[in-house]
C-alpha cells in the first residue's frame, strides 16, 4: 500500500474510506522507533516459531500464517489489553482468529506473551496436545474462539462486542478474516448485522494476501472492489500495508476513534511473507516445508 511520508518525519497517511468521511485521508502521529523495533523483532521470532511448528508437525498452513504475523504481533504486543497470567480477565480485549488455519501465528503470539511455555509450541498437531491444528477455546489458554471452518468468526465477534455493550464494558473485539474467507455468505450476514447494531467496538481485519487455496482470489472468486463492498455495508473502511507496524497501529487508532460504525482494516499483505520461496506461492497455502526448505526458511528469517 501507499505510504506517504509527510513533512513531519515519522508521520504517515493512511487511506480511509468511511461512510462518515468518504475517501478522506488522515495523518496520524507515529510511534517511537523503539516500539516499532521491538515489534519487528517479535515478528521475526513469531515467523521462526511458525516455520518450526509446521515443519515439526509435518503439516499446517505456512502461507496464511506468515501473512497474518505482523497484524497479530501488533495486536498482542501493543494494541490489546490482555493478561497472560489471567486469560479470563473480564475486561480483556478479545481476538478471534476467524481464519483458524493460521493457528501457528496465534499460538506463537500467545506463547511469547506468556500464556503457556514457548517450548510447548513444538507439540502443535501432536496427539494429546493443547495446541490443536485449528484453534480450540477449551484446550488452549488465551484462545477466544474455536475456529477452522471459515466464515464464522466475525459473527462470534459480533456476539462478544454486543455483550461488551450490554455489560457496559470497555473491551474491544478484533476479528481476523482471510480474504478468501470473504467468499463466505456468512461474512456478509455478519457485515450487515454489525452495522445494523452500530457495533463500533468491533474491528475486522482482512488479511488481504490476494490468494486463497485454489489460486489468486481475483481468479477464483473475485472480491474487488473489496473496500467499496464493505463501505456499502455500512463499515468504516481503512486500507493499509499490512506489514508496516506504523500503518497497522494507526489503523487501530483510527478505528477506535470511529463512533457508530464498525471498522474494517484491509491489510494488504504478502502470503508467505518473510520466506522468499513462500511469498506469493499458492503451493505453500497448506504444505509443510521439506528439510531443505525448512533450513533455508529459518536462515532467511534470521534463525540459526
Amino acid at each position: 500500500m501507499k505510504i506517504f511520508p509527510s513533512l513531519i518525519s515519522k508521520e504517515y497517511e493512511v487511506r480511509v474510506y468511511s461512510p462518515l468521511h468518504i475517501g478522506a485521508g488522515i495523518v496520524v502521529n507515529s510511534y517511537p522507533d523503539e516500539d516499532i523495533k521491538m515489534l519487528e523483532e517479535m515478528a521475526g521470532k513469531v515467523r521462526r516459531h511458525i516455520i518450526e511448528m509446521i515443519y515439526g508437525a509435518g503439516s499446517g498452513h505456512p502461507g496464511g500464517s506468515l501473512s497474518a504475523t505482523d497484524v497479530l504481533v501488533a495486536l498482542y504486543f501493543m494494541e490489546m489489553n490482555h493478561k497472560a497470567d489471567d486469560p479470563k480477565w473480564e475486561d480483556r480485549d478479545r481476538f478471534v482468529l476467524s481464519k483458524g488455519h493460521a493457528a501457528p501465528t496465534l499460538y506463537a503470539c500467545l506463547a511469547e506473551s506468556g500464556y503457556f511455555p514457548v517450548d510447548e509450541l513444538k507439540t502443535i498437531r501432536k496427539i494429546g496436545s493443547r495446541l490443536q491444528g485449528h484453534p480450540d477455546m477449551r484446550k488452549t489458554p488465551g484462545v477466544e474462539a474455536s475456529t477452522g471452518s471459515e466464515g464464522q468468526g466475525l459473527s462470534m465477534g459480533i456476539g462478544m462486542a454486543l455483550a461488551a455493550k450490554l455489560d457496559r464494558k470497555k473491551y474491544r473485539t478484533y476479528v481476523m478474516l482471510g480474504d478468501g474467507e470473504n467468499n463466505c455468505g456468512q461474512i456478509w450476514e455478519a457485515a450487515m448485522s454489525a452495522s445494523q447494531f452500530k457495533i463500533d467496538n468491533l474491528v475486522a481485519i482482512i488479511d488481504r494476501n490476494k490468494l486463497q487455496l485454489d489460486g489468486p482470489t481475483e481468479k477464483i472468486m473475485s472480491l474487488e472492489p473489496l473496500g467499496d463492498k464493505w463501505k456499502a455495508f455500512g463499515w468504516n473502511v481503512i486500507e493499509i500495508e499490512g506489514h508496516n507496524f506504523r500503518e497497522i497501529l494507526a489503523a487501530f487508532k483510527k478505528a477506535k476513534e470511529t463512533k457508530g460504525h464498525p471498522s474494517v482494516i484491509i491489510a494488504n499483505t504478502i502470503k508467505g511473507k518473510g520466506v522468499s520461496f513462500m511469498e506469493g506461492a499458492v503451493g505453500f497455502h497448506g504444505k509443510s516445508p521439506s528439510k531443505d526448505e525448512y533450513e533455508k526458511a529459518m536462515k532467511e528469517l534470521g534463525g540459526d
Binding site: S59, Q132, G133, H134, D214
Partner: protein
C-alpha cells in the same frame, strides 16, 4: 496375510469424473476452493467450461447444483466432508433431497484419519445427517477401485447420492470377483465364514478382513461383508448372514451412535435378532494426531474388531 497395495480414493474419483466427462456432455462439476485436494481439478483441466469453482461458499455451490439438475444436468459437487454436509445441510435438504434432484455430493477427507487438522475438520457424523434424509442414497466405498465403480454407478442412478471418501492412501481390498459389479444397495461378501459376521464400511472393510484372519487363529470362522451402500441397506444379505452365523460386529470410522452400525442394528432388531457389537467412535469429537494414533485412541483398529468379536462369541456362550 497378503500385503495390500495402497491407493487414494480421491485419485479414483478424479479419474471417474474425467471418464464421465468424456462419455456424457450433461455432466457438470462444482468445487469450493478445494479443487486441487478433492481432484475435481483433474476434471477442470479436461473440461474447463463444465467446471465451476464457487470459492469458499458451499451453500451457494449446493443450491447451484440443484439448479443445474433442475435444468437437466447431472451435477457433481465436491469438497471436504466437513464442509459439504453439516454446513450445507439445509441446502441439501430443501434444494436437493426434497425435490429429488440429480446432484451427486462427493465428500472427501471424512473421518478422523484427516489427522493433524483436528476435530474441526474431522467429519464423524455425516452418515447420520445424510442417512436421515428421505430420497438420499448413501455410499461409502471401501477403497480406490470401488470408489471409481461407485462414482460411475451414482452418475447412472437418477436422484441425490452422497459418496463418502477419505484423505489417506488406503489398502486396495476389493480387487476380487465378488466386488466387480458394483450395484447401489447391494453389499458384497468379501469372505465366507460360519461363526460370526463382521460388517465393515469404508476403510474399516480391510480391517475387518484382517480381523477375520486373526480370529481364524482362535478357531473363529468369520464372514466379512462390505457394506458399501449405507442407504438403502442390503437387508437381505444382512439377515441371511445373521441367520447363518448368529453373531455380528460392525465397524465404521464414524460416530457409533448413528452411523452404519446403528442402521444394521435396526435392521436386525426388526428382523432377526442376534448378539451384536458396534465398533466406532464413541460419541466424542476427534483431535489432532496421526491417523494411526487416532485410530488407536478412538477404538478403530483390527484389535478392537477382534475384541468385539470375542465379546459377541462370549455372549453366545462360545
Amino acid at each position: 496375510m497378503k500385503k495390500w497395495e495402497l491407493k487414494n480414493q480421491r485419485d479414483a474419483f478424479g479419474e471417474a469424473l474425467v471418464e464421465l466427462g468424456e462419455q456424457r456432455s450433461d455432466i457438470v462439476v462444482a468445487s469450493a476452493d478445494l479443487s486441487c485436494s478433492v481432484k475435481t481439478g483433474v476434471f477442470a483441466e479436461h473440461f474447463p467450461e463444465r467446471h465451476f469453482n464457487f470459492g469458499i461458499a458451499e451453500q451457494n455451490m449446493i443450491s447451484a447444483c440443484a439448479g443445474f439438475a433442475a435444468a437437466g444436468k447431472t451435477a457433481f459437487a465436491s469438497t471436504f466432508a466437513i464442509f459439504v454436509t453439516g454446513r450445507v445441510y439445509d441446502q441439501i435438504r430443501q434444494s436437493v433431497a426434497y425435490p429429488k434432484l440429480d446432484v451427486k455430493i462427493v465428500a472427501t477427507h471424512a473421518g478422523i484419519t484427516v489427522g493433524g487438522d483436528g476435530a474441526t475438520h474431522q467429519m464423524i457424523e455425516d452418515l447420520a445427517l445424510m442417512r436421515v434424509l428421505p430420497n438420499m442414497t448413501v455410499i461409502v466405498p471401501a477403497d480406490a477401485p470401488e470408489t471409481k465403480r461407485a462414482v460411475m454407478a451414482a452418475a447412472e442412478f437418477k436422484g441425490p447420492v452422497y459418496i463418502r471418501l477419505g484423505r489417506a492412501n488406503i489398502p486396495v481390498c476389493t480387487d476380487i470377483p465378488e466386488c466387480q459389479d458394483f450395484e447401489i444397495g447391494k453389499a458384497s461378501i468379501m469372505r465366507e465364514g460360519a461363526d460370526i459376521t463382521l460388517v465393515g464400511t469404508g476403510i474399516m472393510v480391510a480391517k475387518c478382513l484382517e480381523a477375520a484372519e486373526d480370529l481364524k487363529k482362535h478357531k473363529i470362522d468369520a464372514k466379512v461383508i462390505n457394506m458399501s451402500t449405507i442407504k438403502p441397506m442390503d437387508e437381505k444379505t444382512l439377515i441371511k448372514a445373521a441367520r447363518e452365523t448368529g453373531g455380528m460386529v460392525t465397524a465404521e470410522e464414524h460416530n457409533v451412535m448413528v452411523g452404519m452400525g446403528s442402521a444394521v442394528a435396526m435392521t436386525l432388531v426388526e428382523n432377526f435378532h442376534v448378539p451384536m457389537k458396534r465398533v466406532g467412535i464413541r460419541d466424542s469429537f476427534g483431535e489432532s494426531g496421526t491417523s494411526d494414533e487416532l485410530m488407536e485412541k478412538y477404538g478403530l483398529t483390527v484389535d478392537h474388531i477382534v475384541d468385539a468379536a470375542h465379546d459377541v462369541m462370549k455372549r453366545r456362550g462360545r
